[in-house]
């Protein structure tokens, strides 16, 4: 996997490079602001870019703006945005053009190296990786429609993991159950929420997010 990193804090930037290279990925470029990120992506055509949200010069939402530009101009490159905070408006903007090749994680998640790397690989492959915090906000926002109340607690867990972008196998590993059990839960959830059944992970995430986001 070929990666471009945009992160202004040297410590984290170096850490990320090391983490990815340890796992056999190639870091084509590591930059410190949105403008050079776009140039690096145009140059290297990486599989995925890891983008910090708060970067120079304004330290507000440079990363989001760069990510949205990337989504428009380099649809083949996945974008994993990561930040100290989850802001709903950011996740809404990111997901506006679909959930394929998009990730939005808290910076905390790099602590779990294997999960972080797996999320990045998912995004690079055109999948989705949403932070559990993003998903819980979506859950809260969608609760008023009531559909979720009809789910069992286990089904709610599975729905949340689906919304994060995990595959059936990923969900089975996370919940320590068999693949067959997950498939049963998924079918039941889709039935209760009235969603069209779909085997493709990505279309499934999209359906779930549409449902949650209204």
């Amino acid at each position: 996997m070929r990666v471009v990193i945009a992160e202004d804090a040297a410590l984290l930037r170096e850490g990320l490079i090391r983490l990815l290279e340890d796992r056999g990925h190639t870091v084509c470029a590591a930059v410190t602001d949105g403008g050079t990120l776009l140039a690096a992506v145009a140059d290297h055509k990486p599989d995925v870019a890891v983008v910090d949200i708060r970067m120079p010069p304004t330290h507000t939402d440079e990363g989001i703006r760069a990510a949205l530009t990337m989504r428009r101009e380099f649809p083949g490159t996945g974008v994993l945005v990561f930040s100290q905070y989850i802001e709903t408006s950011y996740s809404a903007q990111l997901l506006e053009g679909g959930a394929a090749g998009v990730g939005y994680l808290l910076k905390d998640r790099v602590a779990n190296v294997a999960e972080f790397a797996a999320a990045l690989e998912r995004v690079a492959a055109g999948g989705t990786a949403l932070d559990p915090e993003v998903v819980s906000q979506l859950f809260r926002a969608s609760r008023r429609r009531g559909g979720i109340d009809s789910l069992t607690p286990r089904e709610r867990q599975v729905l949340a993991l689906m919304a994060e972008g995990r595959s059936n196998a990923g969900i089975a590993a996370e919940l320590v159950v068999s693949g067959g059990a997950v498939e049963k839960h998924v079918a039941s959830i889709f039935g209760k929420l009235g969603l069209p059944p779909d085997d493709s992970d990505n279309r499934r995430v999209l359906a779930v997010l549409r449902y949650l986001g209204g």
């Binding site: 330290h59 100290q84 709903t88 910076k107 905390d108 972080f116």
Partner: protein, 432 residues
């Protein structure tokens, strides 16, 4: 400045000052007297009051003219009095105009100014007449060279006082010159005195009162303090983000990487220690994030509306935001300190609703209905009965809002709904 220039300046000041004084007196009296007269009749009270406000307004303009004259010519700057607080609605506006004390002080000044203006005019007349008298020897030589035999009447000295003399020969013009010089000197001396009187009068009646000055000074410094505090908190949050939070994230990442490599190490106690360190780093990161968010929510950097959206998204009770406020400071976006106060008010009110209201729905609205003010309204469809008791959350909110002269209104009848309205000036300094 030479004595000569100074004398000229004083005389000119008196000349212009008396002109403005007479003009102002007539303008104000011709509006104020009919205004007051109409006010006491029953039929046309409203017209009368309106006329009185016009008169107050005119007096204010005349007063400003006097202040300007004083500043321009004598270099004595008297600051304008504290501006009027704009009223709410037609009646409120009328009321605030009629109650505006500096307006009535201006009217008082304009009335007192009449005798002063008369004396000022007198000094000017004295100087002018004196100059004419002084010029008699010259004008005699220029204009009295008539052919012998022609009979001309005597020249009379002019002056503001009835003590003149007739001049019928050139040598007799010399005493006239002396009288003229006397008038000029007296006029200049009087002009100096009248300028001083006028200056005192303007300072005393048209400037801000001592207490007013103190109040506006305190308002200014308080606004600075509020803005400073907001900026300091923002800086703290930024420092945390770029410093401790970043280092902790890197630490957690390094520990995570170490964990993976430990699979080859046999000693389970090392593994346990690293696991514990990793867990603690992750928890510290989450704690620090909550702390930083409480100090200054980073979403506020993108504007109040965006920050409130985020707040609504994390609310336990479903909440919607509707925002109708300008996005840029030039168009009237609230100052950062005000946005911060509004944000924390909304956070507190949503938390209150979550704890006590049993509501199913919260509506958050921000708008600028009244120019210069930001309104925040939070409605919930809960059980109502919220009140602003001492020491309650709402009381704390009212205190926070009062640091910028904001207002808070609560309507929460038993059975609901609860509507809390917070009104904040767009700037802490209160400058419109």
């Amino acid at each position: 400045m030479t004595t000569f220039q100074r004398a000229g300046r004083d005389v000119l000041y008196n000349a212009l000052g008396s002109l403005v004084g007479f003009f102002g007196f007539f303008v104000v009296v011709f509006t104020l007297v009919p205004g007051l007269a109409l006010t006491v009749t029953v039929a046309a009270t409203v017209v009368g009051l309106l006329l009185v406000t016009v008169s107050l307004r005119l007096a204010g303009l005349v007063a400003a003219l006097h202040r300007r004259l004083l500043a321009r010519m004598l270099g004595d700057v008297v600051p304008s009095p504290t501006p009027r607080q704009p009223g709410f609605g037609v009646l409120g506006r009328l009321d605030s105009r009629l109650r505006y004390r500096p307006g009535w002080r201006s009217v008082g000044f304009v009335l007192v100014k009449l005798p002063v203006a008369v004396l000022q005019a007198f000094t000017v007349a004295s100087v002018i007449c004196g100059l004419i008298d002084v010029s008699y020897p010259v004008s005699w030589l220029l204009f009295r060279q008539s052919p012998p035999g022609a009979h001309l009447g005597p020249l009379h000295t002019v002056g503001p006082l009835p003590l003149g003399m007739a001049v019928s020969s050139w040598p007799a013009t010399l005493p006239a010159t002396l009288i003229g010089a006397g008038y000029v000197l007296a006029g200049v001396w009087l002009a100096r005195g009248m300028a001083m009187v006028d200056r005192r009068l303007i300072r005393g009646m048209l400037g801000p009162r001592k207490l007013d000055e103190r109040v506006s000074e305190l308002e200014r410094t308080r606004a600075l303090a509020v803005d400073d505090a907001a900026a300091a908190l923002r800086r703290v949050e930024r420092d945390l983000h770029d410093g401790a939070q970043m280092r902790l994230a890197a630490l957690a990442m390094n520990l995570g990487m170490a964990q993976e490599k430990l699979d080859t190490v046999d000693d389970p106690s090392v593994r346990e220690l690293i696991d514990a360190a990793h867990r603690n780093a992750v928890h510290a990161l989450a704690d620090l994030r909550d702390l930083a968010r409480g100090i200054h929510p980073p979403a506020l950097d993108n504007g109040l509306a965006v920050a409130l959206e985020s707040l609504a998204a994390s609310s336990a009770i479903p909440a919607t935001v509707s925002a109708h406020i300008p996005g840029s400071v030039a168009e009237g976006r609230p100052a950062p300190a005000i946005e911060t106060i509004a944000y924390f008010c909304a956070a507190e009110l949503i938390a209150n609703a979550t704890k006590h209201s049993y509501a199913n729905q919260i509506k958050i609205e921000i708008y600028t209905e009244r120019p210069g003010f930001l309104q925040l309204r939070i409605c919930d469809d809960g059980i109502g009965g919220a009140e602003q008791a001492r020491g309650s959350g709402l009381d704390g909110l009212a205190q926070r809002v009062s640091t910028v002269d904001g207002r808070i209104g609560i309507s929460s009848p038993p059975g609901g709904p609860t509507v809390v309205t917070v009104e904040l000036p767009l700037r802490a300094s209160g400058e419109k």
